[in-house]
């Protein structure tokens, strides 16, 4: 099986920290400044970013009708970009 890779893209996130310490991302800010509202967080659990590399808290979010994964690890947020062809 051919391994698949993706670019790791660090992004800005506007989030709220709840009194219990949990973090809820509200808005995703792309490096170029474009930004999208996060409609809903569907799932939160520790997880690996298999294609881009890295691990952390994985947020499964709905953004403009699409499901997207965000990772929060060591104080930074990142997403997996498009797949890179070998």
């Amino acid at each position: 099986m051919k391994e698949r890779f993706a670019e790791k893209i660090y992004i800005g996130v506007l989030a709220v920290t709840q009194p219990d310490g949990s973090i809820v991302p509200l808005r995703l800010i792309w490096p170029d400044g474009r930004n999208w509202e996060i409609d809903r967080v569907l799932d939160v659990r520790p997880g690996v970013a298999r294609k881009a590399g890295g691990e952390g808290v994985r947020y499964l979010c709905r953004i403009s009708g699409h499901e997207r994964e965000l990772w929060y690890a060591h104080g930074q947020w990142f997403v997996e970009g498009g797949e890179v062809k070998e």
Binding site: E3, F5, P46, V48
Partner: protein, 415 residues
Amino acid sequence: MGRVILHCDANSFYASCELVYRPALRGQPMAVCGSTEERHGIVLAATREAKKWGVKTAMVNWEAKLVCPDLITIPPDYGRYIYFSRRLRDIYEQYTDRVEPFGLDECWLDFSDETTTLTDGVLLAKTLRNRVKEELGLTLSIGVSFNKPYAKLGSDLKKPDATTLISPGNYRNVVWPLPVDSLIGVGERMRRKLAARYVLTIGDLAAQSPRAMHAWMGKMGVILQRYAAGEDSTPVMRTVDEPEVKSIGNSITAPQDMYTIHDAYCVMYVLADSVGARLREAGMRGKCISVSVRDVDMRCYGAQKSVEYFTAQAEEIVPIAMRILNMKGFDTLLPYRSLGLSVGSLELNTKPMQMDLLGDAARRDRLARLHEAVDSIHTRFGERAIERGLALANPLYNTIIPRVEHVVHPVGFLR
């Protein structure tokens, strides 16, 4: 119900941690190697692909490159491995509080209770493996059995990402035919010793009578025979959040008895340097100094003293230790055969330090930084690269190896 013990081993731990962050290297021969620039670095961990080429742990770097020219080498990042180790344990501890780590990458988990069976243990193993794969990107090989040595053995049998059950029903067929050095506690020396009497398999060892084993190699022999027979009942230590080490100490029997208090002073510095270096290496400091003395008649005396501040520096430890010797009248016991020193009441040195009003904080800080520099010189150029002037003043001092070489390895399994 019988005991249900899992031994979880994170496969090619260092290498696997690196792969989580470098997915492009997946499927390639890669090894984490110590000090790659220097010629004497060794392979600390290798990926499965590298192992196929014949790369083995503890191989010298150039040797590894020889068997596998395309080998990609990466320097170790211990901070990362400690982090992963912590995360692994966090997962284990969600299932049981009886988690005993063995090195960074291995743990025993105890699930024994009234209702849990070994079959449940196998199911739990599957759950753990899946979670670790999903959350950390690592694979585990897990041994499930009714005692710790068999569980450990089981985790070595099938790798990676596999579970091996060793039950009271199958251990005679699964464990006993294996070579005796697959058993924990049997190293190369012990293997040779056993082979001399045709004890070649674990079954052979299990068949020995405890009495004969005791006569042959003492307490150790009895312990190993019990391991082999599946009769070991040592408990899985519960996790404690306090530092695992209660104290750090060393003792030395000097090559020549210590006749004067000055001799003792010199030896005390050797000990304090060793203990101090180990404290600093562990990131700890302590405030309870204990001294033990053995005189030429082999009588043993000991005393301890707590001070107000935490320390990990020989210059602060030695005066206290010497004061103990004087105060307790140990100076009347001269000559000494051996001296021991240990520092207890430990805390992590990352904690904020209580400054005392009159104490010389600047001096202490300078001292700490001096030791940091000396430690790094020792690490890079060897123990003899920089020494105390005291080493020149007293020949007694100079014949003792200052810091006992302590390679990083799991805590002793046999206590």
